[in-house]
Symmetry: D2
Subunit: 360 residues, 4 copies
């Protein structure tokens, strides 16, 4: 078994890591770490807030074994304690601690701290699996035994999954996207108040549009001479918050480079969908994309749990009359499953399968 | 005073007409009509449902005078009873009854039954006021003393109001719009169940996208030789329903024909905004468009009541990198005020001012 | 295997019956019936609405075998087609059709049509299992080979489950209950509009309070000489609707006949909880009641799926200073699981185990 | 004009004070104060958050005059700057600063810091106006020129308003109340996250039930020899949070000391209702209580703005079968109008009218 450390274990993403890893066939949770405040407590104790309430936010419950584990101080670790460090840290803490772990171990991070570094891949298995090779350059350049791989922003994930088969078949010229994002994407610290979102839409999420635009081009870029050449399609997004717990809905309009029909796009998605099926990756969906012909779908509450949140659901595929070679659709991506911890675990599974992550 | 009949008076739009007209300086409610089921009752009685609950849906309360009025059977009227007929009928009933009234009187309708007729204007004062002249052709052609004018679909209203100043200054090449529409837009009969919209987004509203695309081009078209030449910009929309009571939010991406900057677009909107101010129309907003610089606005709950719901609020004005001469923004339009009955009353005010509607 | 017919199969409760029965170890779905409109179609076809949308409302998906089954006209059945008829009919249809089926077969009904008949038990396994014997009198009296058993109103279910252990140990003098009920309890036909419940509470549910008060006394009554003597505690309820999809929350204040402490009440609940555990009933929860010590629980979204919705969650157990021997608590009951179809299936399991239901 | 200082002016309650006072006929806002962080800025600047968003939470907009006022450091004031200090401070800050102001001036506070002091009245005009005399004892005892009067917890307000006429006519033996409270009652700092309340009910609000129980008995107590004798009825409450922006809904069951009928209770409420009408208090409602006969009312979204949120709406008045002389009803009280700043301004109006507050 590969020993997995969960960093930021008491936070929302950390809890999701516990759920995604606690009965994993390849990984065993060997270490839980959080801030100094939690250090020394059991995980169960560390999850209690000052009012005594148990602050657990996943639908799935934590195993007794996890609850009994001691929580360590993340800043006291040095990367020798485990084989892989799953990091759900905030940006600033990630910037400081992840390089420490990477000196000796593999770091799989949901934080955005290193996503824009030229030698750090932003990885989605099945979308840009080949970018994993960038870690060789990273290791050499930084003199590390380990490396950092990062997961994209949760709004980017569903978008690039659906763009991948279209780009491969027809090329992509431009993309215009509007997101209607779930509350869980805002996290809990600094999360959206009920008073602000009830009977409301908030038309702005700081930094979100920039992340989508930058990360899409990197993920869909080509791995050239040891560096990624960002893709050159044009992209514009408007990111909004709606009153939904989980599941980001996105409306996408795009024009392809070469002529395409709606039927061809649908077929490209369907043929691409099983790319990770039967590859032996435990967290992989049978279909990366589920295409619905019901015009009223996808809906976040009804479709987000498709394949335990690992399949992106596409509906309303139709021509876009405002663009040349235009097509439009609506997609739904589970922002805290494929878009967060479980997606990161899938990434670690790919790393292991490709020989980049081993038990020491 | 001009005698106003309200047709479909017990319905949601009919109630809004009562609110918009009950203390109007030019119009007096002379007649309330609804289906046969309500006929013979007082308005107060007709508003009670079978469980005894008072089915009144506006924030404003109806005056005692309105509540005491008798409700007539709409199908028994012939157009001689009033000067103007405000119709909040459903499509099929409108198709049958509105021509009867129009033989003798002016019909101002929120129904879509006649919107696509070449001789029937779809009118928004301040946006295409000149289209009112089309009624002369309508009268002649149909041999009516009166005529029908219609109000656009509520999702179209906010969009074309914001497109108007851009088109006038720079021309419009293409428009891509995603709407997040309020529940009140679906009405009550066949309205959206709480069970379907809670923690959810519904990505499809039957017929809505077609209406937006057709009506936008007609409203922004030119009045040629007695007929409207539809505007030829390209337009594509995705219309969704979100868990909001009132106020349609729309994200708009567009490219202008001639080069434009974000600042120029903002200036064009600001200069256009007071087009109806101080013209003497009682229901007109001081500003057709309110431009907000707060990136978190517009929000439906906080901004829909701007100028009693008659001003379209625009925010997040910025460049759109995916389009040539691209600009994007978010707009908010009150779908049951400017987008429904009160907007229709504004239309009647314009008709009176232009000499098309008089007390007989 | 016992052959089960599902009557009203296309409705919400009918769909829940499909989910609860489709992989059941004792029952096999042998027949689906609905109104004439659906008759002759496959179940999959019958679930499509006029707009082509698939109207399926459970989280669990129907098996292909169920979708392929033909739907029969319920009014054409005579009770000889299956061993047990699970009826999710509306009151009027139930009043007409259930006696037809009961002439030959067992009818397990969620409808309220026969709940108040003196010879028809309103049954919750583990709460008043002995009331099942009433069916012998029913059979004799009505000359039927089969019989009808009914499930209580979904708001009553959680209440009487929590009252049972208290009554057994201390007696109950009076109960005052306020419910905050979920939208799914209102069903879909005539369901609550999003426009009416958003940012709102509706303080009245027609007939609900009477049902709670009558049915609680019947269920907690004693089976005397072939008839139930209703319990004589005093009960008062206020039933409201809140913006929640599933899960009825109820605040309960009660006074016991003999002195009781909060700790004793808690212990009584905990000792009662496993009453159905390990009895071999496939749908039974391990604990009829789950007691939480977290003051912020139970919450409908976080606790309704406890034991797949079959366990009633109790929290905030504390003294009630306004009543003699007063105690108060908050309970949560899943209205469409234990409170509807799955609870009815549990009832059928009890009938089989007690020898009242067999394959013919 | 009486000079009014608003303390905690940038907070939610402080903003409500600005709205309630900015065009008041008796009071003029002479001073705005907040924490050190805001001191030195204009009110408009102080309302901007670090992201540049304008943090204004009332439906009504602040006047330009208010926005231009400088914000002072509350801890630098000494009570000589104004005639009356409206305090929207948090408990700890109130405990420290309000006595400083009270040495020289009248302090009208929404904080709970001094509510339990025997010489500090918890005042609702029209409910216990005579308690105002307690301030004479307070002044003498504490050696202050000014004094502190406090407003009850917002959940208590609606309850005691409806209990007042019942107690006066029949006496009250016991009260059992369940509240369904709005999000605005939780404030913004530490407010309820959308993620926690969507599709949910939270069955616990720390300290709330104790406040309701203690304050109800004090407010409905008698002013004896310079001290209040708390009323001795028995009271029990369960306070929950529901997904509503504004307006606390409460279900109330009570038993009267002497026999009463539902009709008599209704009459008592109706006769009591105009107690503040035509008394010359600018913020007073015409009816303290509005009684509705529509069984579906009161509803928070539809009824909270009755008389600008100053009237408590009562519905569903009926017998309570579980209590002797039992009656039950549902009430709705606007927690941020009568239950907060505007209620506090009404209190100040009473103080002025009774001669306890004058311009110096």
């Amino acid at each position: 078994m590969i020993r997995a450390a969960i960093i930021g274990a008491t936070g929302v993403v950390g809890q999701q890591f516990v759920v995604a890893l606690q009965r994993h066939p390849w990984f065993t949770i060997s270490l839980l770490a959080a801030s100094e405040r939690s250090a020394g407590k059991s995980y169960a104790e560390a999850l209690k807030d000052q009012r005594g309430a148990f602050t657990w936010y996943c639908d799935e419950t934590p195993d007794a074994a996890a609850l009994a584990m001691p929580v360590l101080d993340a800043s006291s670790l040095d990367g020798t304690e485990a084989d892989v460090y799953f990091s759900g840290l905030e940006t600033d803490a990630a910037r400081e601690l992840e390089p420490v772990f990477a000196r000796h171990a593999v770091v799989v991070s949901t934080a955005r701290a290193f996503r824009d570094e030229p030698d750090v891949p932003v990885l989605i298995p099945g979308v840009n699996s080949d970018h994993v090779k960038l870690v060789e350059r990273q290791r050499k350049q930084r003199g590390w035994d380990g490396f950092i791989v990062t997961q994209p922003n949760c709004t980017t994930t569903g978008l690039v999954i659906t763009l991948r088969p279209i780009m491969d078949r027809f090329g992509i010229d431009r993309v215009i996207m509007t997101s209607m994002q779930a509350l869980s994407g805002a996290g809990r610290a600094g999360g959206v108040l009920g008073l602000d979102i009830l009977d409301n839409v908030i038309p702005y999420i700081p930094n979100e549009e920039e992340r989508v635009e930058i990360e899409s081009k990197k993920i869909l870029g080509c791995l050239g001479e040891g560096a990624i050449v960002h893709s050159d399609f044009r992209i514009s997004s408007t990111c909004t918050r709606v009153n939904v717990t989980d599941g980001h809905t996105e409306t996408v309009s795009l024009s392809t480079r070469t002529p395409s029909t709606v039927d061809e796009i649908r077929r490209a998605m369907l043929e691409y969908a099983p790319i990770l099926a039967n590859q032996g990756l435990p967290s992989a969906p049978q279909r990366m994309i589920t295409v619905s012909d019901d015009p009223f779908r996808p809906q976040p509450r009804r479709d987000r749990n498709q394949e335990d949140g690992m399949s992106t659901v596409v509906g309303r595929l139709r021509e876009d009359a405002a663009l040349d070679n235009g097509v439009k659709y609506v997609l739904l991506s589970h922002n805290t499953k494929m878009g967060a911890a479980k997606g990161a675990v899938l990434m670690a599974e790919l790393l292991k399968q490709e020989g980049f992550l081993n038990a020491r």
